[in-house]
């Protein structure tokens, strides 16, 4: 077998892998992007809410806070420049009752610390004018939230990468990484198996990123975290969206609550919930409908019986289990694991889509 040589290999062509490969290619690096599925962006990147987040929720100074806020601005500029379908529709985080209103106050403060501009606490009456169907006693209005067509966005990233000389190879699973004097030997699986020598390798494997750690020669076994899978079910209604903004309840420990998001076709979908699962199975758990009715009717009392239809699901690659606090993105390089030329992107769930351009720039700066 012959060995290919290339400067940088990025493993996983989800939205983050594409953004990383694009940033490397734009910086003049030679890039090969490997994807195990037949097409880029078919897992987590295709199964999310398609929301451009503002960056309110995350611990100040964390990767999530920094990359989400920076990524939010970068995303709007990028979509504008590249003609990627998006809409800056804004979002309402709504509260019902004094206890929840208190949380809104905390979120407002966090928005200020995280440098999220334009967030206002508004009374229920004003929220009602903005969204007549929504029931709440107060709300946070985040004008910088929006929605994007993730597939059009990924296609644009891929185009940039390829125009700068990068190459995407699909249907190519990485079997192992072996250490070399300067970088790694990347072995791929299947009967098209090849060996590629690369100086800089980025593990952006999404749901498979943790699994790959075990097959990286020299990676400290004690550092390998347990991967938890949290399925998010989405339901929809047959009618056009009754809302004009994204409508979010108060967040909870593992997710942002069963919220209402719009897509660019003005369809509304509700979700995602958090359902801990032990394997990747994208079927919708329709038995969760009662919880959805209950959660949605807290802010949309007009939801009719029988109106919810199972829509789709996504699965978040989580580094925390049920009841544990949500950790930050785990972006590790030589200082963390001791292996020069390796960057691991672990636990990249929400707000990964919004953060993608910022993560790309950051990782490219490590190359």
């Amino acid at each position: 077998m012959k060995t290919d040589q290339i400067e940088c290999v990025v493993i996983g062509a989800g939205v983050v892998g594409l953004a990383v490969a694009r940033a490397l290619a734009l910086a003049g690096r030679e890039v090969l992007l490997l994807e195990s599925e037949k097409h880029p962006g078919t897992a987590t990147s295709a199964r999310n809410s398609g929301v451009i987040h503002a960056g309110i929720y995350y611990a100040p100074g964390s990767f999530k806070a920094r990359f989400c806020v920076a990524g939010n601005h970068a995303m709007y500029d990028y979509c504008q420049a590249r003609g990627v379908d998006h809409q800056n529709c804004g979002k309402l985080i709504i509260a019902n009752g004094a206890e929840e209103e208190q949380v809104l106050g905390q979120l407002l403060e966090r928005a200020r610390v995280n440098d999220v501009r334009g967030v206002r606490l508004i009374p229920g009456s004003e929220a009602h004018q903005m969204e007549p169907e929504v029931h709440c006693t107060a709300a946070l209005h985040c004008p910088s939230s929006g929605i994007v067509d993730p597939h059009a966005y990924m296609l644009a990233l891929q185009g940039d990468m390829e125009n700068s000389g990068g190459t995407l190879v699909c249907d190519c699973r990485v079997e192992s990484l072996q250490r070399r004097a300067d970088g790694f030997l990347v072995k791929t699986a299947g009967d098209g198996a090849t060996e590629i020598e690369a100086r800089f390798v980025v593990n952006s494997g999404g749901l498979g990123a943790v699994d790959l750690l075990d097959r990286i020669e020299g990676y400290p076994a004690a550092r390998i975290p347990k991967l938890h899978l949290a399925r998010g079910n989405y339901f929809t209604v047959a009618a056009r969206s009754p809302f004009h903004h994204l409508i979010y309840p108060i967040p909870h420990s593992a997710g942002l609550g069963i919220h209402a998001t719009l897509d660019l076709g003005r369809r509304v979908r509700f979700g995602p919930d958090v359902e801990w699962v032990d394997r990747i199975d994208y079927s919708v758990n329709a038995s969760r409908a009662p919880q959805f009715y209950q959660a949605i009717r807290r802010y949309w009392p007009n939801l009719a019986d029988g109106a919810l239809l199972p829509d789709y699901t996504g699965i978040r690659p989580k580094l925390h289990g049920p009841g544990e606090p949500q950790p930050d993105f785990r972006i590790e390089s030589v200082a963390d694991h001791g292996l020069a030329g390796l960057v691991n992107l672990l636990g990249i769930e929400s707000p990964g889509l919004t953060s993608s351009l910022a993560i790309g720039d950051y990782v490219a700066s490590l190359a």
Binding site: Q5, V169, D171, G190, R279
Partner: protein, 473 residues
């Protein structure tokens, strides 16, 4: 019953000792496919000892709505015998059903179980002075059940047909555990629908083949083999027609080989030599066989080749004078895949078009590759007698493997679309498995797909048989 422990416990009760495999060293190789394309996880791996035990497993799994993935020698090219990654399916190995139940010399039949290794069946036939013509590259490890479930092809299709044509009867365990037994060995039996045919090529999605009654033929007693340089693929097709006619249909193999195939094997495989003095763009390797010991095959082959030379079809040819020489011809042909692998990356397509269309197909598809894939070189070879080409695109010297792999889907789409235009098949002899489910949906006529789904629903209403393979319901 959702608890994996309880399910395994129940399976253990249904089977004998050794019926449930739990040693990871034993099960790990069974959970990944031959080409390392897929890695699965199973709820349990079971190896029943007989048909009744297979029936008990299926009845239980059907009742519990548990998917069952049958497996023989695990040599599928399309991931047909690998469970998915969900740990929710039972892998059912047929390896312990490995008895030859009977060999009826006068009836020219053999009844054997699904877990018999093909080479063992060939040897048993030979020992009884009979011939089992099914022969393929993996015959030392593939098993009868898989051969029949995938309707395997191989080296003798031109004369004896695909695996389906060698089957007189089957024993099949249905999804609900009932047993269909058509092991009569009758050559004439027009009694209603030919239901056994449904299970041949179904890849275990309709039921599990546990035994079959196979046709045997008179033992092969004489043979002649030639390696010939031909003007072009069209000349090869003309030569095939002439040989079939002149020999009374004794042609058992007729392989088309391009110059690059000869060059690759000479470069990478020790001991391969160019059988002819001057290079030629195209070659054929042809073999005549007969069950008559005194059949004058060599003079006949020489005569036809000489006439073809005069017609301008054949540029040069050599007939094997010894078994050793014959082996060198076959070694060249059979080592092309290995030589390709050693030479670099390769995009492979197992296609078939009508024999008469092969030359035109090679021309049109070859032009497309030359114009669109500068990083690739065409390596098209295969069973010309069956219209089956291994239409491969290899990495060009001086390029990197990934540059070719990056266009794999573009190449596959273009070639398969062209195959459709030529009235051909995108999967000639390797089946659908999980690898080509979407290709089937794209290329099969809607009425045919609908019929397949109707049959699937009728025979496997709970969708437990080899879920996710062949067809989505």
């Amino acid at each position: 019953m959702n608890d994996p422990g309880a399910i395994t416990q129940k399976l253990t009760e249904l089977l004998d000792a050794g019926g449930v495999l739990t040693d990871p060293a034993q099960t790990a190789p069974m959970l990944r496919d031959h080409r390392s394309l897929y890695r699965g996880h199973a709820l349990a791996v079971v190896a029943p000892a007989d048909t009744a035990a297979v029936a008990r497993v299926l009845a239980f799994c059907n009742e519990q709505r548990i998917g069952v993935v049958p497996q023989g020698g695990n040599t599928s090219y399309c991931g047909g015998a690998t469970p998915d990654a969900s740990s929710s399916q039972v892998l059912l190995s047929l390896a312990r059903l490995n008895r030859i139940r009977g060999l009826d010399i006068a009836n020219y039949t053999m009844t054997a179980e699904a877990g018999c290794i093909l080479a063992k069946l060939q040897a048993a036939a030979t020992e009884a002075d009979r011939y089992l013509p099914l022969s393929l590259g993996s015959e030392g490890s593939c098993m009868l059940g898989g051969n029949l479930s995938t309707n395997a092809g191989g080296l003798n299709v031109i004369r004896y047909g695909m695996a389906r044509e060698l089957v007189l009867g089957l024993e099949v365990v249905l999804a609900d555990g009932r047993v269909l037994d058509t092991l009569t060995g009758l050559r004439k039996d027009n009694t209603g629908y030919d239901v056994k045919s449904l299970f041949l090529g179904a890849e275990g999605t309709l039921g599990v083949i546990t035994a079959a009654c196979l046709k045997l033929y008179p033992a092969q007693k004489s043979r002649a083999t030639a390696f010939a340089a031909v003007r072009d693929p069209a000349a090869a097709v003309s030569l095939l027609g002439a040989l079939r006619g002149a020999s009374g249909d004794c042609v058992s193999s007729f392989e088309l080989i391009p110059r690059i195939g000869v060059e690759l094997t000479m470069r990478h495989i020790p001991g391969v030599v160019d059988p002819l003095a001057a290079p030629s763009d195209w070659y054929v390797l042809c073999e005549l066989t007969s069950s008559r010991a005194s059949e004058p095959l060599e003079p006949l082959l020489e005569k036809v080749l000489a006439e073809a030379h005069e017609s301008g079809w054949v540029l040069d040819a050599t007939v094997a004078l010894s078994e050793r020489e014959r082996e060198t011809f076959w070694r060249l042909r059979e080592s092309i895949p290995e030589a390709q692998r050693k030479d670099g990356a390769s995009l492979k397509h197992d296609i078939a078009v009508p024999v008469s269309q092969v030359p035109r197909f090679i021309e049109v598809a070859g032009d497309w590759v030359a114009k669109n894939i500068p990083q690739g070189v065409l390596v098209a070879y295969g069973h010309l007698g069956d219209g089956n080409l291994h239409f491969n695109v290899n990495q060009r010297a001086g390029t990197q493997a990934f540059q070719l792999q990056a266009v794999s889907q573009k190449v596959q789409r273009a070639i398969h679309d062209l195959v459709r235009e030529f009235g051909g098949s995108f999967s000639a002899e390797h089946g659908i498995g999980q690898l080509k489910v979407f290709e089937l949906e794209r290329y099969a006529p809607p009425v045919e797909l609908e019929l397949m789904r109707t049959i699937k629903k009728a025979l496997d209403p709970n969708g437990i048989m080899n879920p996710g393979k062949v067809i989505r319901t």
